[in-house]
Subunit: 158 residues, 6 copies
């Protein structure tokens, strides 16, 4: 069984993230979505809320699991026996950072492969930050968030 | 009448910004310089002072107006019936961020066009941050600031 | 009257080019599409055919004209009294080349402004070369070419 | 069974290519190495020779197959029922080109995923062109070619 | 005598930094490592400790000196009569920032040359931040830090 | 004595090249300009003519020598006992290619350092190709070529 891990902060999950998850779930036997806790940054939504929002969006996928973890990504991968680490990429700025992370991880654990999946062009501008900026100014979120969580995010920024 | 909006924080306006403004004013019937208020970041110069400094530098241009606004850039553009959003770009790092913003704005309001104008090569390193760093260490500001505001900026960092 | 020039080889025009043309025609009073003749490269479609194909696609736009020209872009711009040169950009590779050209043109003729317009995300992979590659292998061209010229391009590669 | 396709010209295969192949063979059930015939470019080694050289290097891998194909990559993928297309990437220039190709392929066949695998840092400068340049000037090839084919490549450039 | 300055925060020095220092010391008569004090950012290790750690790693190099300085880099260069400013670069993100800084410095002091030295590929992911992240999670530091300071850094994060 | 090599095709030398040469000559004891013969590409100016044109421009510099060489750059560097290889860089596209070359050279000869020097912003668009394009269309060359060779280049394209 091939397990892939998809790490991130998902604060909150966007339709871009969801697209990467659905595409990964078609390729790998199991996909573990790892919400990585960053103790030095206060998230907009707390860990449990972020997990709950992701789970709402993937209820139809039975080979995907959501977990909350702290520590280095490669240690989380080892814990779930994932040999593949999925990262969505959008553009060069993303890519440079991701290339650096992937090279660091390759050096630290050479049996875990980072695989990059390209974001759909129509999601190429999307990030949790963009979504929060839009929500803050009460813009229409229907093109950027999964429909399952739009109300929740809007409520947060009321 | 074609109106273009040129948004930014202008904290403070540099000769690079001023060059983009003068060049835009030759192409469009009206240019609205929008000082965007970012409530989550404390500026070095307050809103009114930044407006005043810009106005000092453009007193000879009669088709340019300076306004202080909060909210999404595209909403400000709509308020002034601007169909064009001007952004100066210098290099790739800029460009990636700008490309993402432009794509986001295209998705949110497809009747407003972002147009990029290339910074003059001699201003390719310039930003408000670089200027503030230089002012902090009492470097010569005559190559980076419009002459109208040099004294004011120097005083601030005394 | 503000005239913009949109130079290129258009061998053949793609839906990406057409999108830039339509968006430019909304902003400027007149748009001159300049097919630049490159004597050192044999085009797939000859000059007149390329002009004819573009004209088929823009028959509903009355402020757009197509011309065949050789020489430096800025000299063509001067001939048509265009103060603006439009370039569509897609990604960083594009951008670097375009930035270099724009800077060269700025040095040669500082009264002509290059303005970059961002390609729609769904056209971000599109170029005449990609289209010809697809046509060569008889792939479906309906997502990449204006419908007015699909048959013609397909015939060419039969 | 998950099949991945790894397309390229492999003219000749480098240790960088071989590393991507070995890493892919650990993740996917089957890997099809597709030598894509480009009728418009004369290769240094002919199709059969390139196939033979790759096979020499992968004789210990029993889930990898080498095929010679012409046409669009996605059509080759379909023929082998491969849902994954592997691409090695080294740096930004690579990435931009690859991103464009991946986006084109996504539009043409949305059930085939392009996955990028990062080259090991020590192979980040390697390409078939660099190897041929080095062979042309009789440089030491032991750090850039699999040992199985060094003699053959050296002989070619004698 | 040609003196080069190598500025940075070195919080802490990595094997990547050390490699740049050793390579610079072979090219220039004297290398001054300038720990630049940034009053607006709290370092992990204090100035004296950072100096001490660097000195431990370079005890065998007699043409290298470590100094603690505040102010603009070019002013520090002038103080030590250094005509060359060394910067290590790893990838595009680095490069863009470095290019901007180098251009700014060129404008402010045109007799001081910035020279970029490429990081060894195996150090291309390395930075003080990556090291601190690894130390925070108690990862093995032997591939990222000079052996002389590993214990000290580990102790800090216990 | 520190010798630096500055390799290129210089077909023809531009004011951008000349600026890099002059700046290098201030830093290193000797600078060897190596015109690299590429047997697979027909130059516009022959080897001897290119050498002659460079020599005309540097007659006031007594620590600079021009040589015509074929082979790998690092072999030429060894021949002249140059421990430094100078490369001018302008932008990201340049940089990626240069980074790849520098890494290849580092692997092949780790005692020769590639040092990058940033082009002056006003020369950031300049290349021999741009100059030839301009000369072909009889544009003014006074901002792009050293005055010593303008006539010669103009004559070539008459």
């Amino acid at each position: 069984m091939k397990t892939a891990i998809y790490p991130g902060s998902f604060d909150p999950i966007t339709i871009g993230h969801l697209d990467i998850i659905r595409r990964s779930a078609r390729i790998f036997d199991k996909v573990v979505i790892a919400i990585l806790v960053n103790t030095r940054k206060i998230p907009c939504f707390d860990n449990e809320k972020r997990k709950e929002m992701i789970e709402k969006c993937i209820s139809d996928l039975d080979n995907v699991e959501v977990v909350i973890k702290s520590g280095l990504t490669i240690d989380v991968a080892k814990e779930y026996d994932a040999k593949v680490l999925i990262r969505g990429i959008r553009a060069v700025a993303d890519y440079e950072y991701e290339l650096q992370q992937a090279t660091a991880n390759m050096t630290l654990a050479n049996d875990i492969e980072t695989l990059f999946m390209v974001a759909k062009p129509e999601y190429s501008f999307l990030s949790s930050s963009v979504v929060k900026e839009m929500a803050y100014y009460h813009a229409d979120l229907s093109k950027v968030l999964p429909k399952e969580i739009i109300d929740e995010v809007q409520d947060k920024f009321k």
